[in-house]
Amino acid sequence: MKIQELINERVVVLDGAMGTELQARGMPSGVNPESWCTEHPHIVRGIHEAYLEAGADIIYSCTFGGNRLKLSQYGFSDTAEINRKLATIAREACRGRGLVAGDIGPTGHFIEPFGDLGFDEAVEIFREQIGGLLAGGVDLFIIETMMDIQEARAALIAVRELTDIFTMVTMTYEQDGLTLNGTDPVAAVVTLQSLGADAVGCNCSTGPIEMKALIEAMKPCATVPVVAKPNAGMPELIDGHTVFPMKPERYAARMKDLVHAGGNLVGGCCGTTPEHIKILKGVLAAEQSQPPHRRAISAVSSPRKALIFSGNRPVTLIGERINPTGKKQLQGELRRGRMTCIQNMVGEQTREGADLLDINVGVAGIDQEQTMAQVVKLLATTSDLPIVIDSTNLGAIERALRLYPGRVLLNSISGEREKMDQFLPVAAKYGAMFILLPLDDSGVPDSAEGRIDIIGQVFEGAETFGFTKEDIVVDGLVMALSSNPGAPGETLKVVEWCSSEFGSLTVLGLSNVSFGMPDRTWLNAAFLAMAMSKGVSMVIANPAAQELMDIKVAADALLKRDRDASRYIARFSQSTRGASGAAQKSVMSPMEAVTAAIMEGNREDIETLLTRAVASGVTADSLLHECMIPAITEVGELFDRREYFLPQLLAGAETMKRGVALLDPYLREENRETEKKGSILMATVKGDIHDIGKNIVCLMLDNHGFNVIDLGKDVSAERIVEEIKKSRPFLVGLSALMTTTMVQMREIIEGARDEGIDCSFMIGGAVVNEGYASSIGAHYAKDGVDAVRVAGSLRQNE
């Protein structure tokens, strides 16, 4: 019976653990399992037979580590032959009783962009193993125990480049529900099924109880059957040995929950035995298999998260900023192969609320394929947002789709014959969604009807490659109001038709509408609101455009695309919070308000509050000595008692610093200049580059009226001694974070004494303590507050 028929008929039972069974039957520790099995075929055949007799429909060949990289660690080079032999052993064991899945496990290396093994090299390594397994006559493939989605993709692409036989992919998840590389189960499903996996799921990871949540998360978005192959419970360490505690009866009973959650193919991983599978088979005899809940899904994914375009989610915002058009700095960086500007744009757009990031590297004279690969790899490692590949360069598109460890939205495929012929097969091979651009070789039709005709033609072509309407996002094609007043109306008609009749998602590149017009923001925002009322699904825009984002959030709420208007409330209550805080302070006396601002670290309002206080007749001297100094002292005491933590201490200190700077001219007017308590020279010693602690101490001392001379970090003993002679401080503060650099402190102090310098020294840093300080003739300060105390007391005793 073929695998698909089996799945349609009932819950399919997979085999159980191989590794623990081999060990139980005499495989010594430290050997290569694959090689050992070729030398002991009767043992591995015996295990296969035991699982088949227990009722397994599918057994896995003993080739989990049968790739070139793993085998070479043990000195073996005949990868294809080892795989062929082991597949043959499994085939012989079956004798028509079940199917053989060629087992493909991880290489043990990370693949680009997460590691140094090239993606194409990884594909080649898997192809070698797959070739051997095919020669051994496997019926299907299982790519399993993958913790890196990119490695799973490489193996799956390798299979698909050689054969179209049924292929399952299962990832392994941590207890927090993510793979070790941070991929969530929905992202894995979206990525792998779009790339051609015939079944997806999880194995190893956990026991059946914990795996239920993973299967429940996967099932609603899976368009293919779901696989569940958990361990016999969570591993426990007993007498120094890892033990999987679940007995066969309990295991089988809990496996029913996985079937109820949507598992179509179920079996066992570490710690399970033929007995577990036998009882499981019996328990599942009466269970019905749930077919996939959907045939297609509109979704994209990054290596870590998926974005599902359901009808009631807020309009999706595609961040448009990674596009060199009109951006000289970005153009320059791309030409030099630098990525700092892009990294900043990724961070900014993410913080401003983009859902997807558009990537366009269209700069004349650069190797777009190489640059696109560089950008895609950067985004894969630094951003959780899925991406839109915006290019007309086929080579760059193909490189991006092959390399990116997620499902991409391709921008775009039009009705131009050449584009359809070239781009559709590539998008289909890598399972991308695409933006359908309704223009053809004759150009952009003016009317909505003309565009709708092209949409039909492109969709018809796409269907032959297996695309569904869920895989397509139609671009309404926004044209400038300034060149054709009727153009925006035609675009809206296309959006409305797609939403209500055709049944596809839609996207608009908003800012085109206002091209050539003054005050473009208002046209863009109004057009967005109108398009949203027609059902537009996505817009390409700058998420930092406040007015646009405000309108989007408001319209999302009005169109029931923002459940309980929670995003609206969060956005707009946030913007009024500052004002209400200031209003609250306005009911306090001016001095109370200034004290409160320092205690709360309110850097934004301190200048306004002080200006108001001075205007109300309070003297600068009273403000400084009666509120600000007592307040910052209180902040220090709160920090000392651990009632405040470091950010609160620093926020208070920075508020104080701003306040003192503002008061300075008033104090001069009152003939009461801020009196300095004496000079302190500060430095992080030679060889040490860690200076944040020293910077904190400088801020605290400065706030308490000391004249701080900061020499910075990695400062030589000679320079420190020279500076002491020049500025004659009463105290020198030295910091070091490393045991190797703290010895510099002694050298500096001895050098200063040799020169006849008698000032005090204070030291601090992670590796020094009171004892060390006194051994070199210095005072010790454990933190910034303590440093103020030490400096104050030394000054007083002078």
Partner: protein, 198 residues
């Protein structure tokens, strides 16, 4: 490398104490916003390598790579293990640039949070690497010890960081090392962990 954000450790590093610290909602929001800001600049990269021991004396550990670590404490830590995991990780240069910018702009409040996040994420990267190697070691009935040892700690001189730098080819992930054996960018670490039989 996708390191889980070690929220608790970040707060502890910043001096937060569950029992005593009073934090209002605005401070919490600002702190979490700064942590998110820091994360957007962190690009964790790392390298790890299993290395067999060739010899072990009371005050030294010799590796199959012909490298020797001179340290009585390390020798004691390794015990009778026959293999170690040598690791290195970095949070990258961008976060250091962001910290510098904050300090230059007199925003030490956020700078100190960025610094704490980068430190804890770098440490978390070593935990991540141990977990990763444990997946592979499981099939060999072995595991990596959770405790680890770093150059500059105890009697293992910081100069051994040069050895680890070369062994792991850390220049390939964008690191350099100073004459005083400091890794650049600053938020970078190396460590040795023992590999034990289960």
């Amino acid at each position: 490398m996708k390191v889980r954000v070690p929220w608790d450790n970040i707060y502890i590093r910043l001096g937060y104490r569950e029992q005593s610290t009073r934090m209002d909602e605005t401070t919490r929001e600002e702190t979490e916003k700064s942590i998110a800001y820091a994360l957007s600049f962190i690009n964790m990269r790392g390298a790890g390598r299993r290395v067999s021991l060739s010899e072990k004396g009371d005050d030294r550990v010799s590796l199959a790579t012909a490298d020797v670590f001179v340290s009585r404490n390390l020798s004691k830590y390794v015990g009778d293990c026959r293999e170690v995991l040598v690791m290195g990780a970095t949070a990258g240069e961008l976060i250091m640039e962001a910290i510098r910018q904050d300090i230059d702009a007199d925003n030490l409040t956020r700078g100190s949070i960025l610094d704490a996040v980068a430190s804890e994420m770098t440490d978390g990267a070593l935990d991540w690497m141990c977990d990763y190697f444990n997946y592979q070691l499981k099939r060999e009935n072995k595991k990596v010890s959770r405790s680890r040892y770093s150059a500059g700690y105890g009697d293992l001189g910081l100069e051994h960081q040069q050895t680890m730098f070369k062994m792991l080819r850390l220049d390939q992930i964008g690191l350099s090392i100073t004459d005083s054996h400091m890794l650049i960018p600053e938020k970078s670490v190396t460590a040795i962990a023992r590999i034990m039989d289960v």
